[in-house]
């Protein structure tokens, strides 16, 4: 998604002279043309993420709309207090961008993974998080982030193309429509692609409706909650379940009295064996791979 991200930033910055882009010394082989387009509005703040976010808040105070870019864990964890106090409490238009959400940085190791980022950020006041599942969602999400001009976090990963006929409902996108579906899958981020792969199994095709959650905190329209009630619901996310999609969704559904017949959560499990590998390796360990998703869907088929 970095290519789509850079192209969109260039476009938006050309349209709006109040856009500033700050990087925490990252962007090699991705942001070079952004540097050229933004000129003095592109700032390399060095390896100093806390200051980067404080500076962004100060610039936003003077009328700028400021992107702060880094690898996802560095953009979120190191400067969480700056984002909370200096940005969110003041509703400043400062937008964190974390590249490589989830296990995206794979063999780079646990320091480079962000599997608790959405729990941290979506629990803050006045912030919206954006989690594209597909690369073509990045550009319109950036337009929305700039238009809303409030604290935001964009979690980038590696995704394909949004399925045709996708339909937006609240903070969800209905990406697979099935008549007489026996259950529902809600996925967060690019791991939605694994759900689509799992559904290519001929026993599963046409049996499930699939949605992506595009933002946290969630906005679950009543109509959607009740559409899911009484049927099996599988939640798939490359994020820990605590504070993530599964937990936030279950609270909303229970609050609305829209109870699924079965609720299954597939989520990031951290580092259960203490061993490290690429993104697929970690997804598999957490049961987020297409085969395991298909296995759970088959179980729901029986349960449903």
């Amino acid at each position: 998604m970095r290519k789509e991200f850079a192209a969109a930033i260039e476009r938006i910055a050309q349209e709006d002279d109040k856009i500033v882009f700050i990087t925490g010394d990252l962007g090699y082989n991705a942001l070079e043309s952004v540097v050229d387009v933004l000129g003095p509005r592109f700032i390399n703040a060095g390896v100093a993420e806390q200051n980067m976010v404080g500076v962004a808040a100060g610039m936003a105070y003077r009328g700028y709309k400021v992107f702060c870019y880094s690898i996802a864990p560095f953009a979120v964890y190191r400067c969480l207090e700056q984002f909370r106090n200096d940005v969110c409490l003041h509703k400043m238009p400062v937008f964190l961008v974390g590249n490589g959400g989830g296990y995206g940085y794979g063999i780079m190791g646990s320091t480079h993974h962000a599997i608790e980022d959405l729990a941290c950020l979506s629990s803050l006041q006045n912030v919206n998080t954006y989690i594209p599942a597909f690369a073509d969602e990045v550009s319109p999400m950036l337009d929305q982030i700039v238009a809303e001009a409030r604290p935001a976090y964009l979690r980038l990963g590696a995704g394909g193309k949004t399925p045709d006929d996708a339909e937006r409902i609240g903070t969800f996108k209905h990406i697979v429509h099935s008549h007489d579906s026996i259950g529902t899958v809600v996925a967060l981020g690019p791991v939605a692609g694994h759900v689509l792969t799992a559904l290519q199994d001929e026993l599963l095709t046409g049996q499930f409706d699939v949605y992506t959650a595009t933002n946290l905190p969630l906005d679950v329209p009543n109509e959607l909650a009740h559409r899911w009630a009484g049927k099996p619901l599988l939640v798939v996310e490359e994020h820990v379940s605590i504070g993530g999609l599964a937990q936030q969704l279950s609270v909303q559904l229970l609050t609305k009295g829209a109870v699924p017949s079965h609720f299954t959560s597939l989520s990031a499990q951290g580092y259960p064996n203490g061993l490290y590998g690429d993104q697929q390796y970690h997804q598999q360990l957490s049961g987020l791979d297409p085969a395991n998703i298909a296995h759970h869907l088959s179980s729901l088929l029986i349960a449903g």
């Binding site: 806390q50 200051n51 404080g54 500076v55 808040a57 100060g58």
Partner: protein, 272 residues
């Protein structure tokens, strides 16, 4: 910046009595911290800050001094000031967000004001205006790593519209700064880094003003630093240079003594 004719000595006493009154009615601590930096606020916030400038109290625990100054400037009404520290106030022990024009950012967690101030100063450069930014920090606060991140950013971007004031009273949360973490507010560190620096008596308002005015005339392209040598609890005999007055509230007798000390030291000419 006020345009009223000012009797500085009288104002130093008047605002001290005001903040002592606030702490007394609230039975609150951080009195020594406010008395340490109130003279720096008189110089910057009251006497030098223009409408296009920004003042940030990074050492948010001196909020009562800030509130007293903003009340003097008319930004906080007497009625609002009377709610200090009470339930339902916009004036808690540390400055709150989005409540008063004179308080651009909530502070209280140390090490936040300088990065924000640097961002405001950099925005001023990018916008091409003549705005200035004053950031008032404590010496203990310079323990925070963000101090050094922000300082290097300010140097790299030649933010000569930024003036950092360090209230150097030599005491921090649980000891003397020299004993806790070394002297991270040592002027030589900042000078070596490339800041344009001055050291002044932080209670000599005229000296602070002269230093600031000299900065403005210098045009060096360097960010500015004022090391202000101060006394925690300045003006109240039993509080001066005592760590406990970071925390303690006053008894009624202590309040009476504090007011007597201040009145003796700074003759207050009350408005007619």
């Amino acid at each position: 910046m006020t345009t009223k004719p000012i009797d500085i000595q009288s104002l130093r006493g008047q605002l001290r009595l005001r903040l002592l009154g606030l702490y007394n009615q609230a039975h609150a601590g951080h009195i020594g911290c406010s008395l340490s930096c109130i003279d720096l606020m008189i110089a910057t916030l009251i006497l030098r800050k223009r409408p296009q400038d920004t003042f940030l109290l990074s050492k948010g625990h001196a909020a009562a001094a800030l509130y007293a100054c903003l009340n003097y400037l008319g930004d906080i009404s007497d009625d609002e000031l009377a709610t200090y520290y009470k339930n339902g106030t916009t004036l808690p022990a540390h400055p709150a967000p989005n409540q008063h024009k004179g308080i651009p950012f909530a502070t209280g967690s140390l090490g936040h004001g300088l990065p924000i101030g640097v961002g405001i100063a950099h925005a001023g450069k990018l916008l091409g205006d003549d705005s200035r930014v004053y950031v008032l920090m404590s010496d203990g606060e310079t323990n925070e790593g963000t101090t050094w991140e922000a300082a290097h950013f300010a140097l790299q971007h030649k933010l000569d519209n930024l003036a950092v004031l360090i209230d150097k009273n030599g005491l921090q949360g649980f000891g003397r700064t020299a004993d806790v973490f070394g002297d991270t507010a040592d002027v030589r560190i900042w000078e070596t880094m490339g800041f344009e620096t001055i050291e002044v008596d932080g209670h000599d308002v005229e000296a602070v003003l002269a230093g600031l005015d000299n900065f403005q005339a210098s045009g060096t392209g360097k960010p500015k630093l004022v090391i202000a040598h101060t006394v925690k609890g300045k003006g109240v005999s039993y509080m001066e240079n005592r760590l406990e007055w970071h925390y303690l509230p006053m008894t009624p007798a202590q309040y009476e003594q504090a007011c007597a000390d201040v009145s003796a030291l700074f003759p207050v000419s009350l408005p007619a």
